[in-house]
């Protein structure tokens, strides 16, 4: 009897924290349906009507079509490059036991723990000289490189778990190392690759510092920077700020709902870097 009661009591702090977690998001959605004046005078009330217009206007003025295009290009390209270089790297480090492997791991660790400012300044001026600023195609490799350590560590911890017998079976059959990698390891890695894709997608979509520095003109702005500039310019129109915020967040929310386990596991395990 007493256990039942205490169990219910425990829900109280959980509910309080849930409210804390959800309240700002609820406010965001609620605001997106109000007019600017309504938000200013009655911030906490429910909208008087559902102004879907806010969404349409915000989408057009902020140019979200271009933003989605830009962000998608950046995302697709960075993931493609990342997977293409990270999986062989992890394979070589774990299975092929290459010499100098520890040095490489240390370098990757440094990349994760040292501030991004360390590389961004010369990188920007170098890109600028080469005319590569304002190009989503040129930003993508930067993301691939920055998320390389995380991906390699995550893949590495997964590959360690693949029993040696599996690959040896391939070798015995006469497969070269490349074939072992392509025919055996890669198919087995589908789950962890999914995790990498899920987590990195989220990070790239939301990323701010590099996108701010490398994408200037309106044509090429990613969603995150587009949102930032739009809400900076129209800061007085709080309805636009809210509606555009909801639209910005929606893709990731969808990703999260469908791939929740991947995202959560990936972020936590990747940070715990095996």
């Amino acid at each position: 009897m007493r256990e039942q009661k205490s169990k219910t009591l425990f829900h109280i702090p959980l509910i309080i924290m849930s409210v804390y977690a959800l309240a700002p998001l609820v406010l965001l959605i609620s605001n997106s349906f109000k007019t600017g004046g309504e938000i200013r005078t009655q911030p906490l009330s429910l909208p008087m009507q559902l102004l879907w217009r806010n969404y349409v206007d915000a989408w057009q003025i902020a140019g979200y079509t271009k933003g989605i295009l830009s962000s998608t290009i950046i995302l697709a390209l960075s993931i493609a490059i990342l997977l293409a270089v990270a999986s062989p790297m992890a394979f070589a480090l774990v299975k092929l036991r290459i010499p100098g492997g520890n040095v490489i791991l240390l370098l990757l660790l440094l990349g994760m723990t040292l501030p991004p400012q360390l590389c961004i300044i010369p990188l920007f001026f170098m890109w600028q000289k080469m005319g590569l600023v304002d190009s989503p195609w040129a930003l993508a490799p930067i993301y691939s490189a920055r998320y390389l350590p995380f991906s390699v560590f995550l893949l590495r911890s997964y590959y360690i778990g693949i029993p040696k017998e599996v690959e040896d079976a391939g070798r015995v059959d006469g497969c070269s190392e490349v074939q072992v990698f392509l025919r055996i390891i890669l198919p087995l890695s589908k789950p962890v690759l999914m995790t990498v894709v899920a987590v990195v997608s989220m990070w790239v979509w939301n990323e701010f510092l590099f996108a701010l520095t490398f994408l200037h003109t309106e044509e090429v702005r990613s969603m995150a920077i587009r949102y930032y500039c739009f809400t900076g310019r129209f800061s007085i129109n709080l309805a636009y700020v809210a509606a555009s915020g909801v639209m910005m967040v929606l893709p990731i929310m969808i990703l999260y709902v469908f791939l929740q386990r991947s995202v959560v596991e990936g972020m936590t395990r990747g940070s715990l870097k095996g």
């Binding site: 004046g37 200013r40 001026f125 600028q128 000289k129 080469m130 005319g131 600023v133 304002d134 200037h216 003109t217 309106e218 500039c229 900076g232 310019r233 129209f234 800061s235 007085i236």
Partner: protein
């Protein structure tokens, strides 16, 4: 007979070739690209109707492309560094040109000035501050002044009168504060340069234009009494909570207009560019402007002059002559200037001699008064100095960046002025102080 025919045919052939090459030459169009900072849609249209189209009609061999960018500074820089960029460049003021000139990115305009007579067409003081190290580096394309904007309807309803001196200004603020209204609305979180509006007003109106002139030529030091007083008075107003209830560092520019619209604020210190916003944010009441009251006994309030925009040519342009022709086009016709001043509302006040007759009939009466006010100021010679036009760049930057620290008591006025002096002395030695009229 045969000979005559031959000659005739010969003439026809020669004419044909000449005509052919003539038409093919005119079929080759020169494209000029002009980059300008993001403006409201109203200005796009204004520029297209009053500048772009007429210019292309007057110069059929030129195709003018106008491109607009928010976040303009960074995009411009990036393009110039990559040796790309437009033919015609807008800049926020003469001091922005200095850095680019040092990096040899701008075309010096002295020859064209001779050719087109710009020094005669454009106000001399505006030309003077666009010179750097003896060369004309850019042309001033928009001049402005600082004013006090106020909600006329609110003043009438509450029975308030405009202030005539410091004491009446202070008591006006007190009355407004007591009535639950913010006396001066202002926000700078997204544009810290806005602090230079305040430094411009307070230095010129309290330290006085004579002293400002002296300090900018090195005769006086920033640490002296008049400048101290200027900042002290600003700090006084701010710490009383009369400037956005001490929240100015957390408010955006647009927020300050939001307060204006919501009738939670009565007045605003801003330049003529406020015309951009004041019409849109004054729905339901009437607004007006007044000259800045006399904030310091003994200092006649000057008409503070500044250059808001200037225009320069890319050193790497392939069509300097056509580009220079375009520059001249902006300054040659007073009626055109009048039209764009009306359409652009507070931007593009071309610094050439205009008369009331040059303005279109719909030109708002308050803007005409403003124009006359500036004209009187220039004629009388009692002008003040906007920091973004007459200060060397680093000194201006230091002052607007650290003004918040001063009013928040995180930096003493002495330190603020002492550091200003240090930075200024170095820029003076480097020849970066603009020429004063």
């Amino acid at each position: 007979m045969g000979k005559k025919k031959l000659i005739a045919i010969g003439i026809v052939v020669v004419l044909g070739i000449a005509l052919g090459s003539f038409t093919s030459a005119s079929a080759k169009k020169v494209t000029l690209v002009w980059w300008t900072e993001y403006h409201a849609a109203r200005i796009y249209d204004a520029i297209r109707e009053t500048i772009e189209k007429p210019f292309e009609i007057a110069n059929p061999d030129v195709d003018l492309k106008v491109e607009y960018f928010p976040d303009y500074d960074r995009i411009l820089r990036t393009a110039l560094v990559a040796e790309a960029g437009p033919d015609i460049i807008d800049l926020h003021g003469p001091s922005y040109a200095i850095e680019y000139v040092d990096a040899n990115m701008l075309l010096l305009l002295d020859e064209y000035a001779e050719k087109f007579g710009w020094k005669e067409k454009i106000f001399p003081w505006a030309i003077a501050c666009s010179m750097y190290k003896g060369h004309l580096t850019s042309l001033p394309v928009h001049y402005e002044t600082m004013l006090l904007w106020y909600n006329r309807t609110m003043f009438e309803e509450k029975g308030w009168n405009l202030a005539t001196d410091w004491d009446s200004f202070v008591s006006l603020c007190e009355k407004q504060d007591a009535a639950g209204v913010i006396p001066l609305t202002y926000g700078s979180v997204d544009f810290v340069i806005a602090n230079s509006w305040m430094t411009s007003i307070f230095f010129s109106c309290i330290a006085g234009p004579e002293n400002v002139k002296r300090v900018l030529t090195g005769e006086m030091k920033w640490t002296e009494e008049p400048f101290k007083k200027a900042i002290e008075k600003y700090r006084f107003l701010w710490q009383k909570g009369w400037i956005s209830e001490k929240q100015s560092a957390a408010l955006a520019l647009d927020d300050s207009w939001g307060l204006w619209q919501d009738k939670r604020a009565a007045m605003k210190f801003e330049g003529t560019w406020a015309l951009q916003n004041v019409f849109d944010f004054s729905k339901g009441f009437d607004w007006d402007w007044a000259p800045i009251p006399q904030l310091e006994p003994g200092v006649v309030p000057p008409v503070i002059m500044g250059i808001g925009s200037n225009i320069a040519l890319n050193a790497k342009t392939e069509h300097p002559d056509q580009a220079a022709t375009f520059l001249d086009f902006l300054f040659s016709d007073p009626k055109r200037a009048g039209r764009i001043m009306d359409a652009a509302r507070g931007e593009f006040w071309v610094p050439i001699k205009l008369s009331k007759a040059d303005f279109p009939p719909e030109f708002d009466e308050r803007m005409i008064r403003c124009f006359e006010y500036m004209g009187e100021g220039m004629a009388s010679g009692n002008i003040g100095y906007c920091t973004w036009t007459f200060w060397p760049p680093k000194t201006d930057a230091f002052q607007y960046q650290n003004l918040d620290s001063v009013v928040l008591d995180r930096m003493s006025i002495e330190d603020y002025l002492a550091s200003s002096q240090e930075i200024f002395e170095q820029e003076l030695a480097e020849g970066r102080v603009p020429t004063l009229p």
